[in-house]
Subunit: 214 residues, 2 copies
Amino acid sequence: MAKYPKIPEATIRRLSNYLKCLEDLEAKGEKVASSSHLATICNVNAAQVRKDFAYFGEFGIRGMGYNIKELKDHIKEILGINREWRIAVIGIGNMGSALLVYKDFLKQNYRIVAAFDIDPSKVIGHISERMGRPVEILHIDRLKEVIEARKIEIGIITTPPQEAQKVADLLVEANIRGILNFSPAPIRTPEPVKSMNLFFTAALDNLVYHLTNN
Amino acid sequence: MAKYPKIPEATIRRLSNYLKCLEDLEAKGEKVASSSHLATICNVNAAQVRKDFAYFGEFGIRGMGYNIKELKDHIKEILGINREWRIAVIGIGNMGSALLVYKDFLKQNYRIVAAFDIDPSKVIGHISERMGRPVEILHIDRLKEVIEARKIEIGIITTPPQEAQKVADLLVEANIRGILNFSPAPIRTPEPVKSMNLFFTAALDNLVYHLTNN
């Protein structure tokens, strides 16, 4: 695939947001969007939209707006989501269960192909009762075997915080490429494994900053 | 409180991360941290740490490192989390239930004081069975009354996507100040209400970008 220059984190985040907005427009039957229209629905300014897209050369035709389908494909290629990514979720409590049925994953080529828990017998009833058991829940002991067999590249950790690093270590042993950690305990992984912590307090901190300072 | 210059979004996000790292250090009994130590455990570089703190004048004493307690207090003041924020969660399915017991909220002065659902009788059993019902779950019809009575400033939406904007409109009517939306449908709110969408696909997009391009 094409390689792009080093892009600021904030731009990467916005690309993902533009993609989401473009999908909403497409769902409404739209074919073309101007940068100012896209800016309005994505809640950024039009100059920012044009600046973000300028990292990747010329998108669209000046004065004509962007072809929504082409722009979506282009953003997907840049982000690397123009192919399927196979995912395992580890820890099937409330948060893990919520992810197993999160509607937007499939739309975006994110496919959860395995779910693990320390006590699958306990959670299976819970899952199947509430939403028809979308994936089989396996014992954590089978993590390495299943991750390799099912060619899983991404692990999502939704265990209690005290288990998060242990699970991360198991995932690294199983040759995972990336980890998204939803538990409130930060995890660390050795190169080249890429891990990200998603703390809900951080999202609230950001909101509160704007409530306090704007 | 003190006012600070306009700070880049990425810095605000990192401040929240530094705070989390400082809390982990404090829990281990540490009193002082150098910028390079903080950088290592927060997974950024030391120059970035110093640059981020420079937005707020001088922190710490050169060569002596930062006093962890003072630094924490300073960051909390900047972010506006040096006081309690009262929160309502709307939509008590798996995701809402996960937030009701999310361990880090209380540590950070985020207090969930109300939970709402369209069918509280259905969810109460689920919640109380699994975690002892930490807050009473009320019918959504009581939203406005309870938000005003309990002085709630932030609403967290964890409903199915097709309900998200309707709930956001109700929250705006109830004079909420800020909304964090966890449903995959983007919401919009009129000024001065501040709303943020937290899409899990965006977190995966970011991870995948780094797996693809690094």
